[in-house]
């Protein structure tokens, strides 16, 4: 009888087994398909979807006259109401008790704002704990800023006329102007759209959080379940090499990752398409083939990394409980990396933290997407190669730790 080190039978069996577990596969693949467009919707429309209550009280109705310029407090109220409505507020002028933000134009406002010696007061009251209130305050501040500028221009114009001096109000009020130019990694100027692309890169890197974990449960069951169902012992006495059991199971389970990656790519298209269709913002032009390929690869490699991280533990312990405890730890570490990806650039962190993060495979998946977003193809490939290397080391450890005796006698 000849013995051969072969991977094929293990992968053949794992795939058949997997193909008949349609419910699990569907759940794993559908999750990113739903989550990605949902993220697209929520990240863009969340402010407008959130309903808030704003109260605008005008205690000093009437005209504000500065030289030839005439304003009204009602005009200010209208502008504040419009700004708050655009942020998803229900605006009322009645003094209700439950509100997110209240804006009061107090008595004496007109006298103060038309004065050349006093300051005019607007009172803003925010409900504690209201996340909507901050958005409302920023909208009101923007309106007040424009209104104050118009009043200031009127005052400068009036004073210039009284003094019989030729005055340009903007040279008095804004004597310094500055220009901003966006540059890409090469130093060349890029359009504003590029900054939006970078923001999307962060969201896409964060989206990896949804695809990294389901495969952990699958591989755990593939090893521990086989032991529990008493099929492992007979298999271990066959000439099938241990490395082909480990690699065969990992590669088969990673095909779930591939399915997830493809579903994720479709989700990604929806993520870009929904805002395009709804708001007329053409986000689809940001989705380059490099970004799409990098995203799918990052998804697949993140799944493989999760499998490679949990396999040594599962192989050594052969226990559901231990595997669950460690999978929680892996999910925790992954979440930290993905949250960092959302708010910071890993490559720009201090060296000690950066290199610590580079030890974690997920960091390279994040870097792959972020570099692809910037069009840095070589850096994308470099991070993917490092990630593949880390995965290979972890799988080699799993093979090294393989112990028939531990698997047979461990408690599931």
């Amino acid at each position: 009888m000849r013995r051969r080190g072969r991977l094929y039978p293990v992968i053949w069996k794992e795939l058949r087994d997997m193909a008949r577990d349609i419910k699990t596969i569907a759940a794993i693949a559908i999750l990113p398909l739903i989550m990605m467009p949902f993220m697209g919707l929520t990240s863009i429309y969340v402010q407008t979807l959130q309903q808030g209550v704003a109260v605008v009280i005008n205690e000093d109705p009437g005209k504000i006259v500065i030289g030839d310029h005439v304003f009204t407090t009602q005009q200010l109220v209208n502008e504040i109401e419009n700004a708050l409505k655009s942020k998803g507020f229900i605006v009322t002028t009645h003094n209700v008790s439950r509100f997110d933000i209240k804006v009061i134009i107090p008595k004496g406002f007109r006298a103060n704002i038309s004065s050349f010696t006093r300051l005019a007061l607007i009172r803003i009251i925010k409900a504690v704990g209201s996340t909507k209130a901050n958005a409302g305050e920023s909208a009101v501040a923007s309106v007040l800023g424009s209104f104050a500028h118009e009043v200031a221009v009127a005052k400068v114009d009036y004073l210039g006329r009284l003094a019989r001096v030729k005055v340009s109000p903007s040279s008095v009020l804004d004597p310094i102007i500055y220009t901003t130019t966006l540059v890409g990694p090469s130093g060349a100027a890029v359009s504003v759209v590029e900054s939006f692309r970078v923001m999307l890169g962060r969201i896409l890197a964060f989206s990896l959080i949804f695809v990294t974990t389901p495969s952990i449960a699958y591989i755990t069951d593939s090893v521990v379940g086989e032991k529990e169902r008493k099929t492992f012992e007979a298999l271990l006495a066959t000439p099938v090499p241990r490395w082909s059991i480990v690699i065969g199971k990992a590669l088969s389970a990673s095909l779930i990752g591939l399915a997830t990656g493809l579903a994720d790519a479709i989700g990604l298209l929806l993520f870009f398409a929904i805002p395009s269709m709804t708001y007329g913002i053409n986000l689809l032009k940001l989705l380059t083939p490099t970004l799409l390929a990098a995203h799918v690869s990052a998804v697949y490699l993140s799944v493989l990394a999760s499998l490679a991280l949990i396999l040594p533990i599962v192989i050594r312990s052969g226990s559901y409980r231990v595997a669950q405890a460690f999978s929680l730890a892996i999910i925790g570490v992954a979440s930290i990396v993905f949250f960092i990806a959302l708010y910071a650039n890993i490559g720009a962190l201090t060296p000690s933290l950066r290199y610590l993060l580079y030890v974690i495979p997920y960091s390279h998946a994040v870097c792959m997407i972020k570099q692809a977003v910037l069009g840095e193809v070589w850096n994308t490939i470099l991070h993917s190669l490092i990630l593949v290397g880390e995965i290979a080391v972890l799988l080699a450890i799993a093979v090294k730790l393989f112990s028939e005796e531990k698997i047979i006698y461990s408690k599931t």
Partner: protein, 249 residues
């Protein structure tokens, strides 16, 4: 290095789990090639540990183990392709059909898919399952049907040494009879060495040329069933076992 006629040779084999549990306390025996040997003993006697050591799954702590002329554990990779092992309560992959369960193991032992198919066909014959049943999912099998497929999986690969751990444990009378029949026919036709463990005295008496009685990790007696009965002055093997181990504890 290939040895002489013995398929299995154990000398003073000791296995301790943890610090306290001495599963085997110096077990020695030899199984000649082509023989059907039974390891008989109560639960916890060390039968499964002995079979697992021979099946290359567990490493012994001291002593000497040789299987088909190869020393264990060093030459375990040379042994694995020449033995087959049916663990106690061996399961099937429940999402695969009976045929696919057979084909999976056949592929491991074969060089081509064609060869694997022929091996699996032999497995179907050995199991005695109908064409319809063998293509049903294993999750739909009764315990007896599943055990017949698992046994066929172990027998079909053409191993020189077949290790069977409690092949009929937990089965009803009909299923156990059917399993015994399969083992008997296989042993007659294949010429392979069979080493099986059991706590069913009648089963061992019916199937085995020679019996090793084991209790609390030590061999109590070894011989042909008739010889053991005579030595103990017992009417059957069960009575002989009780007398030889020193009564019911």
């Amino acid at each position: 290095m290939a040895g002489d006629g013995a398929a299995v040779r154990l000398r003073d084999v000791v296995k301790v789990f943890g610090k306290k549990v001495r599963a085997l306390r110096g077990v020695s025996f030899e199984v000649p090639r082509g023989a059907i040997y039974g390891i008989l003993g109560p639960n916890g006697a060390g039968k499964t540990t002995t079979l697992r050591i021979i099946a290359t799954l567990v490493r012994h702590d001291s002593g000497y183990v040789e299987v088909l002329g190869h020393r264990l554990p060093d030459e375990r990779n040379l042994v694995r392709g020449r033995i087959s092992y049916l663990p106690e309560d061996a399961g099937l992959y429940h999402r695969l059909t009976g045929w696919e369960n057979l084909l999976y193991f056949a592929m491991i032992y074969s060089d081509t898919l064609e060869e694997a198919r022929r091996m699996a066909e032999l497995g179907v014959k050995l199991s005695g399952l109908s064409e319809r049943d063998i293509h049903r999912k294993a999750s739909e099998y009764s315990k007896g049907m599943a055990r017949r497929v698992a046994l066929a999986r172990a027998l079909m690969v053409g191993a020189e040494l077949v290790l069977l751990d409690e092949p009929t444990s937990g089965l009803d009378v009909f299923s156990a009879y059917s399993i015994r029949k399969i083992i008997k026919n296989f042993a007659k036709s294949s010429g392979a060495t069979v080493l099986m463990s059991s706590h069913n005295m009648l089963e061992v008496e019916e199937l085995c040329d020679r019996v090793i009685l084991i209790n609390k990790g030590s061999i109590v007696a070894e011989g042909e069933p008739a010889e053991l009965k005579e030595r103990a002055g017992a009417a059957n093997l069960e009575e002989a076992f009780i007398k030889l181990v020193g009564g019911v504890s």
